[in-house]
Symmetry: C2
Subunit: 134 residues, 2 copies
DNA sequence: GTCATTTTGAAAGTGATTACCATTTCCTAT
DNA sequence: ATAGGAAATGGTAATCACTTTCAAAATGAC
């Protein structure tokens, strides 16, 4: 899964990847750091976690997610891909949308507004199936 | 335009509305405060600006926009409405999308994922018509 | 092994936002 | 009008996520 990835895989990065693999959940840098330090007192420091996340994001292995609350979350993705979320305001779980709504519109927006899309943020908040049922 | 709005219109709020009316542009709380203080040394303080924006947002007169850079921007809207932006990474201008892409999808997402949408963030980054032409 | 480069980490610094709290302003009953 | 109480205000300090700094430690090439 790491084949063909063009970046130096430092210890910090490896550790971060491990944690993200385990949690399978949107996690902030501080979350990740906390989890590391829980099971290992001399796990990488917070600075390294931030730096590793930065590298991993630009390598396309991890995506950063802005939920608009001033705290960035991170998540493993298939290299180069990304996706958006339905974030439950009750249980904080998040479901992935199986397709990016923006990519489909890219051409239309280009034509209509003459705007060349380079990136976007899209997250949806509400109540998930499970919490609605309760 | 302020008819039927259910909130106390304090001095701070009025001043903030004035500024937002003039700039017609995404502005941060600090931007707004700066502009006020430029033309009037005893314009409301920063704290009041933040508080006013909070009231105005919950009254639906102003929308808060998260661009994912850790600085919230604000903008006048028709009461209760909202819209999304094409933000140019060259000139920082922003064009409004004339319709909300998410509202259209609400029903589909409800059916497909059982998710009840309550809110969302959507902003698109790239290069605008003018800057592309250059 | 040696030396240069890269990585790391603790602490200090930033920048936006919020909490505090004392002062001022506004409204209402007298 | 005016006194009293609630709401609004503003400067400062605190918070919080994140970044910078810089010296020490790990890595890698020769």
């Amino acid at each position: 899964m790491l084949q063909g990835v063009d970046m130096r895989l430092t210890k910090g990065c490896k550790k971060v990847l491990e944690v993200l693999e385990q949690v399978q959940e949107l996690s902030s840098a501080q979350d990740i750091h906390g989890l590391m330090r829980n099971e290992d007192d001399k796990a990488p420091g917070l600075t390294t976690v931030y730096r590793s996340l930065e590298s991993l994001v630009s390598a396309g292995l991890v995506q950063a997610v802005a939920l608009g609350d001033g705290e960035r979350r991170y998540e493993l993705v298939k290299p180069g891909e990304h996706h958006h979320h339905l974030v439950c305001d009750k249980c904080r779980s998040s479901v992935h949308l199986d397709q990016c709504l923006i990519e489909e519109l890219e051409e239309g927006i280009k034509n209509k507004y003459g705007f060349q899309i380079k990136g976007h943020i899209l997250e949806i908040f509400g109540t998930c199936k499970v919490c609605t049922a309760k």
